[in-house]
Every structure is written in structure tokens, then in C-alpha cells.
């Protein structure tokens, strides 16, 4: 009589559900991705070192201020007087809104200040001056 010397137990990793896991991840990434909806106008952002990241893209709305003094919200050029109304409407829809001011470094401070005053009038008090990271920082 011969005995089988080794009974081989095949170690198998179950891969049947791998596809499900992968697709689940895929769907999660697709749902959680917020696409850039507005391109704004090209601005040369100023540089700063002590910058903070804005975590929630959903709660951020941007105001672009170009070097020539043009104000742009959601890809539409607006006048200074319209800024307040537009932001007020957005703020009513989302009270946690943070306003990101994407101003060109060459813009006049007076205009930025005017925008800030408009924001204060409609109680949009959480602002963020968008900047690029200063490279030679230490």
C-alpha cells in the first residue's frame, strides 16, 4: 500500500470579488471628485509663504480680479455693484461659503478693497486671498 506522501492543499486567494471591490472604489472616486467648473480669467497670483489650504471645494467660491480691474465670478464679468448680490445669493444657498479672492498681483489694491467692502456688506466674512506658494521659503 502506498500512501500519498503529501496531501497538497491548494492555497487560493479568492479573486471573484476583486472586480466588485475595484468597481466600488472606482464609483467612490467618481462620486467624490468635484470637477473644476469655472475657469475664471488668467491671473498671476501673488506669492506667499504662510498659506492655508481650503479643504472643502464645495464651500469655496472664487472671485477673480484681473490686472486690468475686471471682476469675474463664475465665468461672467460683473461690475462691482453686482458682486454683493451674487455673493449674497450664494451665501444664502450655502452659509458655510468661503470666498476665495483670486486677484492678480498687479491689480490695484483699491479695487480689492472695494470688493472686500462689498463682501462685508452682505456678511460674507470668510475670505481667502488666493496665492501661490513662495518657492524659496524657509
Amino acid at each position: 500500500m502506498r500512501f500519498a506522501r503529501k496531501s497538497r492543499v491548494g492555497a487560493v486567494v479568492p479573486t471573484a470579488s476583486m472586480a466588485d471591490i475595484a468597481f466600488l472604489l472606482l464609483v467612490f472616486f467618481m462620486v467624490s471628485t468635484v470637477f473644476v467648473r469655472f475657469r475664471g480669467i488668467p491671473v498671476a497670483l501673488p506669492e506667499a509663504e504662510k498659506i492655508e489650504k481650503l479643504e472643502m471645494r464645495r464651500h469655496v467660491t472664487s472671485i477673480w480680479v484681473g490686472a486690468n480691474g475686471a471682476i469675474n465670478i463664475d465665468d461672467a464679468t460683473v461690475s462691482l455693484q453686482q458682486v454683493g448680490d451674487l455673493i449674497h445669493a450664494k451665501l444664502t444657498a450655502n452659509p458655510r461659503l468661503i470666498i476665495s479672492i483670486k486677484g492678480d498681483g498687479r491689480a490695484e489694491f483699491g479695487l480689492i478693497s472695494d470688493v472686500l467692502q462689498e463682501l462685508r456688506k452682505v456678511e460674507a466674512l470668510r475670505v481667502n486671498f488666493a496665492t501661490d506658494r513662495e518657492n524659496e521659503g524657509n
Binding site: A22, L25, K53, L54, R106, E108, F109, G110, N128, F129
Partner: protein
Amino acid sequence: MNLRKRGQRILPEIPTASMADIAFLLIIFFLVTTTMNQDKGLSLHLPPIAETKEVKEKNICNVWINAQDQIAFYEGGTLNVVASSDLRHNIEQRLAANELLIISLKAERGASYRMFVDVLDELKLSGATRISIAEPEG
């Protein structure tokens, strides 16, 4: 005898072994193509428009920027021009001397936005948390 053979059908099978590979490929594609350009910059809380606070004069440090992008401390009726490189050190000393110090940043309308952001950055770097932006005159 042959009955069973006749009933047997060839089961049509979709090969699912490579499904996981396809799904992961898609995930990686999405991960790579998603641009994570987070909004970043200098955050600031604006004061409500109705709010005016009486602050003792010794607790205020006035930093002015003129239309020629020069920085100066306004104290006791005189303007002391300071180089932008010395600003941080200067503010640090003042904050060490008086921790209740509120820094009031006032820029002329003609000042450049870049200079304003630079100064704001320096103020934040020096550890100042009480920063107020004064409205330019005129």
C-alpha cells in the same frame, strides 16, 4: 443512457478573471488624470460692517502702504518707513512687547495687490493673529 448527454448545454461564460484588472486600470486612470489643484491662500476673517470696537491706542500698530509700495509704521503722528525685509522682525518685537497688539493694515488705493499680500504674509509669518484691514481713504 444518452438522455443526460442530450440535455447538457454548453454554458456561455463571460471571462471575469480580467475584470479586476480592467477596473483597477480605470481607477488608476482617474487618479492620474484628476488634478488636485486645491485652493490655497491667506485666510482672513473680515469684521462685520456694523462692528466698531474701541481699542486703546497703545494696542494698535498702524502699518501703512503707500501708492509707491513703500511700507511705513504710523505712530505718534510720524511715519517711519521700514524695508519689507525688516518688517517681520519689527512686528515680532512689537508683538513680544505687547501681546494684545492689533495690527491695522492700511494701504492706499494705488498700492499693488502683490505688495498688500506680501505684507499680510509677513504679518502672518511674524505670528500676528489680530490683523485688521482698514479701508483706504478717498
